[in-house]
């Protein structure tokens, strides 16, 4: 096997198949409903044309995949410490990535790649444009070799050691392994929000596409609407909500299992290797010093079960990256227990984070949210309720909303804490999911402090720390203390000149 990568080389020839199938699927997905519509509307005689059309698309995608394969080359420039990729079917694009700007290297395998027996390799960079390289087909040894080369830029010459090390990789015992039982618990207790969003998106597309289909079928929409509204009695609504909740839980479980099945973390020289996935196995190698914010969160159920969710946030740059790619920069480790968390934190931060002096917000923290989220809407509702008698029976709900709201805002106030010592900044917040974010002062990029004029006399102000992985806010603190903290952090950042990545 070519271990060097110093000469320009193509990806594995299987890449044509992977790429072709990928393009075909993309086109097919985009035109799926058009096809169905055409299929229904067209007379049977033209059915062959339809098949012919699909065949042509298939042929074209594979032809382009072949061209892509011919033009796609990559190599490692050892002298300049750069990874160079040439690509582009019609226009020549050259992508040069400095090795020290590489954030993480992912080795993935989707179903097709699994069947053929190749791997896909993706490079996440800290480039301002969010341009990333993805090699669609590469065999396993080369993939891991390349990964090593890309991430361990200092040990470039010792290929022997690395191949030896390569064999170690499989044997090395992971220090953290998430069992299926834990995953079940995770699936039942967390990430409802994301699943809800997924469900909503799903329903949206179904309704949207369904409408288009109805147009095609020329079905009477009003008839459907009247039957639907006819079905909506209070009992059916409750059944529907119960069904939705069950579906939500199931989706949550399936997603958790799909993403985190057999999650393992092992230490690997200076880097951490994460691998997980049910159908497509995903391996991610990251170096701990590129983690900007380490975060863990826990809700009431999880506290009872003695587990928590961790996420490691890496730098993300620019708005050009799409949402899901931004998420790719956050590594999530669900269902660790506190000992595993401490171990992981020690590995990333160098030492277990100790709590230093804790700062608490002023009680004025409560004012704005109570006014805008509770007093104002409830007042408006009451005014409406006294004008319109039909709304009156629901006043009880408004009162319940008010009480629950006050309780939630009060909890969020009680949990809003920042704790600072020489090495760490620990920020706690949350209402249901209590999250703890840990940053080291050298990861700070910029600091903003602000104060409303009416808080000047009582010395209350706000603080946000900008890091490459997002902001950390501390609201309604003692402004004198905040200013002192800021001066101290500025001193730490400016006097030491440490790398933040």
């Amino acid at each position: 096997m070519d271990n060097d990568f110093s000469k320009p080389q193509r990806e594995s020839a299987f890449g044509i198949i992977v790429m072709g199938a990928h393009t075909f699927l993309q086109i097919f997905k985009a035109t799926f409903f058009v096809f169905i519509a055409a299929f229904i509307k067209m007379p049977a005689t033209t059915f062959t044309y339809l098949l012919l059309g699909i065949a042509v698309i298939l042929l074209i995608s594979f032809f382009f995949a072949y061209l892509w394969y011919l033009k796609f080359t990559f190599f490692l420039d050892k002298e300049k410490q750069e990874f160079v990729v040439n690509k582009g079917i019609f226009n020549r694009d050259q992508l040069i990535i400095q090795l020290d700007k590489i954030q993480q290297v992912n080795i993935n395998q989707n179903i097709l790649q699994k069947i053929i027996g190749v791997y896909g390799l993706k490079i996440d960079t800290a480039g301002a444009h969010g341009d990333e390289v993805s090699i669609k087909a590469i065999d396993e040894t080369s993939a891991y070799n390349l990964k090593e080369h890309l991430l361990n830029r200092k040990a470039t010459v010792e290929t022997q050691v690395e191949t030896e090390y390569e064999n170690h990789l499989a044997e090395e015992a992971p220090f953290l392994r998430i069992s299926a039982w834990t995953l079940l618990k995770v699936g039942l207790t967390s990430n409802y929000g994301q699943s809800l969003a997924l469900l909503a998106a799903f329903f949206y597309t179904v309704i949207y596409e369904g409408r288009q289909l109805l147009d095609v079928f020329k079905i009477d929409k009003d008839a459907i609407q009247s039957t639907v509204t006819g079905m909506l009695t209070i009992v059916t609504v409750f059944i529907l909500i119960a069904c939705l909740l069950v579906v939500l839980l199931i989706i949550n479980l399936v997603r958790t299992f799909y993403k985190y099945f057999e999650l393992e973390i092992s230490q690997h020289k200076n880097t951490l290797l994460l691998s997980s996935g049910l159908i497509a196995k995903k391996n991610t190698l990251i170096s701990p010093n590129k983690v900007q914010i380490s975060k863990y969160s826990q809700n009431y159920f999880q506290k009872k079960m003695n587990m928590l969710n961790m996420s490691l946030k890496q730098a993300h740059f620019g708005q050009s990256k799409k949402g899901h790619e931004m998420q790719g920069n956050t590594l999530e480790i669900p269902g660790c227990n506190p000992t595993e968390r401490d171990e992981l934190l020690k590995m990333i931060l160098g030492s277990a984070p100790l709590k230093g002096k804790t700062f608490i917000p002023d009680w004025r923290f409560l004012n704005l949210p109570i006014f805008f989220k509770l007093v104002l809407p409830v007042a408006i509702f009451l005014i409406i309720a006294f004008k319109i008698p039909e709304v009156k029976p629901y006043i009880g709900i408004a009162i319940a909303y008010f009480i629950i709201g006050i309780l939630m805002i009060y909890i969020s106030y009680r949990k809003h804490r920042i704790s600072v010592n020489q090495q760490f900044i620990i920020k706690k917040s949350g209402i249901w999911d209590i999250s703890t974010e840990i940053v080291m002062p050298n990861k700070i990029q910029a600091i903003t402090t602000f104060q409303y004029p009416w808080h000047k006399s009582i010395d209350v102000g706000h603080l946000s720390l900008h890091t490459a992985a997002g902001q950390i806010h501390f609201k309604y603190g003692n402004y004198t203390e905040i200013k002192q903290l800021v001066n101290c952090w500025l001193y730490q950042v400016e006097s030491r000149n440490e790398d933040w990545m």
């Binding site: 708005q319 903003t448 602000f450 900008h466 902001q471 200013k483 001066n487 790398d499």
Partner: protein, 182 residues
């Protein structure tokens, strides 16, 4: 790493640290207020022409003139006032190790970007800025959109000298860190 062996960890007297909040800040150049006025006049001029033509030529709009015209003038006054206040509230300072920028009409916010975290620097000159020999300086950190510093209305010579100073600092910062590694 040589720094490790020499590492000492004395307690820092927090009171002795330089205080960012006590640094005297420089205000934007007075000519910048002229540029703001020109920009506002252009925007409201275009808006005024649009509203005027609507009032003159569309019959349905004409009865509403009674409130449209006062609202328009009220908006003009409000915008001029707001921009004037925001112009008055801005301030910046360049220290040896960081840049400070203060702004905000109601809430006064101060952003501080350490020089060793600045990724790149941009100097922009608009058409009107060029007439008055002004420029705006943008300092980008890796802290995302909110971590950027955008200082407008600096005299172009000063802006250029700040840029050169910062660039020199950035070079100085990069070189000593790369040399010991090699």
């Amino acid at each position: 790493m040589p720094a490790d062996s020499l590492f000492t960890n004395e307690t820092i007297d927090l009171e002795q640290l330089p205080r960012y909040e006590e640094i005297p800040l420089k205000q934007p150049h007075p000519h910048y207020w002229k540029i703001i006025r020109i920009n506002l006049l252009i925007i409201f001029g275009i808006l005024g022409v649009g509203v005027g033509t609507l009032l003159l030529f569309v019959d349905e709009v004409r009865p509403n003139a009674l409130w449209i015209i006062p609202v328009y003038f009220a908006l003009v006054v409000i915008f001029f006032l707001l921009y004037y206040l925001s112009f008055k509230k801005r301030g910046y300072a360049v220290r040896t190790h960081d840049v400070i920028y203060k702004s905000g009409i109601i809430a006064e916010s101060t952003t501080i970007a350490p020089l060793n975290r600045i990724q790149h620097i941009e100097l922009n000159e608009g058409i009107f800025s060029r007439i008055y020999k002004l420029g705006s300086l943008q300092l980008f950190t890796a802290g995302g959109q909110s971590g950027h510093i955008h200082i407008s209305g600096i005299a172009i010579d000063e802006a250029k000298s700040i840029r050169d100073l910062l660039l020199k600092k950035l070079d100085l910062l990069e070189n000593p860190t790369t040399e010991p590694e090699a």
